[in-house]
């Protein structure tokens, strides 16, 4: 089948402003959008720049807007989006070149929520035990691959990059509700802020954007609830 791939282009060394390029390609319905980008890079224009690594939706490198919504280019097949495909960088982070954005603000927000297990009690000789129920309490948010699809789909984040954003709250959730962690209260203090959970207006873009199918809005709601009640359960 014939596909028209329209790609956002911006090279800081040669372009005053961004523009779009169209590429007419032969594709099969099961091609990934990433495969099309690779083909363009190999045979049409070697300057086209984008990040990618695992190519099957687990490393989180290739988040971009595909026909207007945030997706991983390796997890969208041509048959999912039809033969007119527009690819643009995610919103809310500065474009460096073509589809590559500056990820530093995103990772900085992640680091602000102390995204690591905190428990200073001496560990037992073997594993700390945890019931399957306790494990399932935070299982969903452990799936996050930090691709930024959620955060950069959030209108509140577009308005202010100071908003921690869904991904950082998901990371906090993963530890707040882990029965082995002892710093949930501290994380709730960090998130109980104008730039914390209260910037979330339950628009659900994040949940739709998540390639790992994490219930992002629900996780944010659970954190809000924990702040409101002062209870983590």
């Amino acid at each position: 089948m014939k596909v028209t791939l329209k790609v956002f282009r911006y090279n800081p060394e040669t372009d005053k402003k961004p523009h779009y390029e169209k590429y007419k390609l032969d594709a099969v319905p099961t091609d990934r959008v990433l495969d099309l980008l690779e083909y363009v890079k190999g045979y049409h224009d070697g300057t086209l720049s984008f990040r990618r690594s695992c190519a099957h939706g687990v490393c989180g490198s290739d988040a971009m807007r595909i026909n207007g919504v945030n997706r991983l280019a390796c997890k969208v097949l041509v048959q999912n989006v039809g033969n007119k495909i527009t690819v643009e960088p995610v919103l809310g982070l500065a474009v460096i070149k073509d589809l590559i954005v500056d990820m530093e603000p995103f990772f900085n927000n992640y680091k602000l929520v102390t995204p690591y297990l905190i428990n200073d009690e001496p560990p037992p000789k073997r594993e700390r035990t945890q019931s399957e129920e306790e494990h399932l309490r935070f299982d969903d948010t452990t799936k996050c691959i930090l691709c930024a699809c959620c955060t950069t789909s959030c209108p509140s984040y577009w308005v202010s990059g100071d908003y921690l954003g869904p991904a950082a709250i998901v990371a906090a959730h993963r530890f707040i509700f882990d029965s082995r962690d002892r710093a949930g209260a501290e994380r709730l203090r960090i998130l109980n802020d104008a730039m914390g959970v209260y910037r979330c207006h339950t628009i659900f873009n994040c949940t739709d954007a998540c390639p790992r199918e994490i219930q992002v809005t629900r996780a944010i709601g659970e954190v809000k609830n924990a702040i409101a009640t002062g209870k983590i359960d």
Binding site: A55, K97, L146
Partner: protein
Amino acid sequence: MQNYHQFDIIVVGAGGAGLMAGLYASRKASTAVISKLYPTRSHTGAAQGGVGAALGNLEEDHPEWHTFDTVKGSDYLGDQDAIEFMCNEAVQTVYELEHMGLPFSRTADGRIAQRPFGGHTNNITGKPVLRACYSADRTGHMILQTLYQQCLKNKVTFYDEFHVIDLLLMNGTAAGVIALEMATGELHVFHAKAVIFATGGHGRIWEVTSNAYAYTGDGVAVTLRRGIPAEDMEFFQFHPTGIYKLGILITEGVRGEGGVLINNEGERFMERYAPTVKDLASRDVVSRAMYLEMRDGRGINGKRYMYLDMRPEVVNKYAAADGRKRPDGSPYIVTGEELLSKLPDIIDFARTYLGVDPVSQPMPVQPTAHYAMGGIPTDMYGQVVIDEHNTVLPGLYAAGECACVSVHGANRLGTNSLLDILVFGKYSGLKAVEYIESADLLKLPNDSSDFARQQLEEIRNSKGDENAFDIANEMKSVMNDHVGVFRTDAGMQQAVDKIRELRDRFKKIKLGDRGKTFNTELLSAWELGNLLELSEVTAIAALERKESRGAHAREDYPKRDDKNWLKHSLAWMEDGRIVLKYKPAVITQYQPKERVY
């Protein structure tokens, strides 16, 4: 000086091995971790089924059994002292990861859950044992996340998206690395007393591969160019169950949970090849069986794939036939829901890429290039050793897939790669710390970045009209056809000739991107140069090994030959030519015997 950085220890690569090394090194020494990817993008995150450790949480198990299984899995080429060390360390290492917060799946009594995996057995009965400690089917993801989080907690210094191009050696001692900052195109000098390579594998040599784009063998290629040999490059693992055509990994955990491989006649053919453990034989055994079935016309619809079937009714039928029991003694019966909860990503991959729901339909799979048993030679503490006498190169360490300890020998067991990165990542970090306490920072010459710059400039200024993608595709195709699961003298010779032709054509490639900012075309071309060199080393080492052992299966030499070939290969690149030497495998308690499953 701009673009100059000084640390005690530099770690190259931020997957599981690099992060573990960085974590341990940074506790005692100034340490930086440099990676061409953001750490959480590393390929450790794609590992699925589990990490091997004889915790014995659900049934009897012992590190000694794990050791023997690994020796046998390696087809007796693995160094037994190192294997014993790794399997003994496994238990405490897994507990340590749990204490760091790794969210393992749990048993009914709250302990780390364990599942069966290929080649891991109860050494008395020979039956599969529950040894793979798992976190659903994203164990590698959870290891990578947990280690990155711990590095943040411990304030490890990262240089993300810095692509290491060269290793600096002064008087035969490690002194740092040269890296290109991807955002600016600038070269940086990282001056250090010790360097730890943890750069991962090189499975992008092959057409059908489970490996990430990033898996281009950078560490092995860089050290080869600096006169360090590569060990056992002829041994590369083909995982039996890659998604048809795409190669995306479907974990062996599917078979651990009871899934079976089926041929076009509806037969569970592994019963004929491995009567005791069947679908849970070692990967080399299963991949060969699939090829033989396909060769004899029993691929599905005559094509080059088989079915991996995990429909509950099929799992339950074969579990009953095998007399498989749960740890509590009840018959092994699964539901679709249970499979969904234990293998959610697999189900997602099958739906996304195959349009198949594996709870109600079987998945088309074929062997996929997966794991490098070979790499930079090291001892069991991660110290790089540079000749057949195991002479240590001071200050240089390697860990994880880029290294060859050798604990995997001729064939790695599933779950032992995650174990390898943890144990040897840790010990290379510890050993480097010990080393730098008495080592001097060696003075660097002013032109230390010249060799890196020269390599990149040659590519950038190349005047020809060859297309890099064409060269890559031809390389992958010839390596898949002739240096794959089964090999012959004529085929491998054809591959060597073709790769040499491609290396010549590579000197004449044409680049479109002349810029500095994120010039990914330039870096991809440099990576292709690495893959081409490693292809040639692989094909030549394979051509020279005139026997079949583990993943190296020759139709013209179908038998293992312990008399002549119970030894590791070492390949040097000398003036563009490859020179091979050999060193003996370490045998301690287990004498080689016939390998049956």
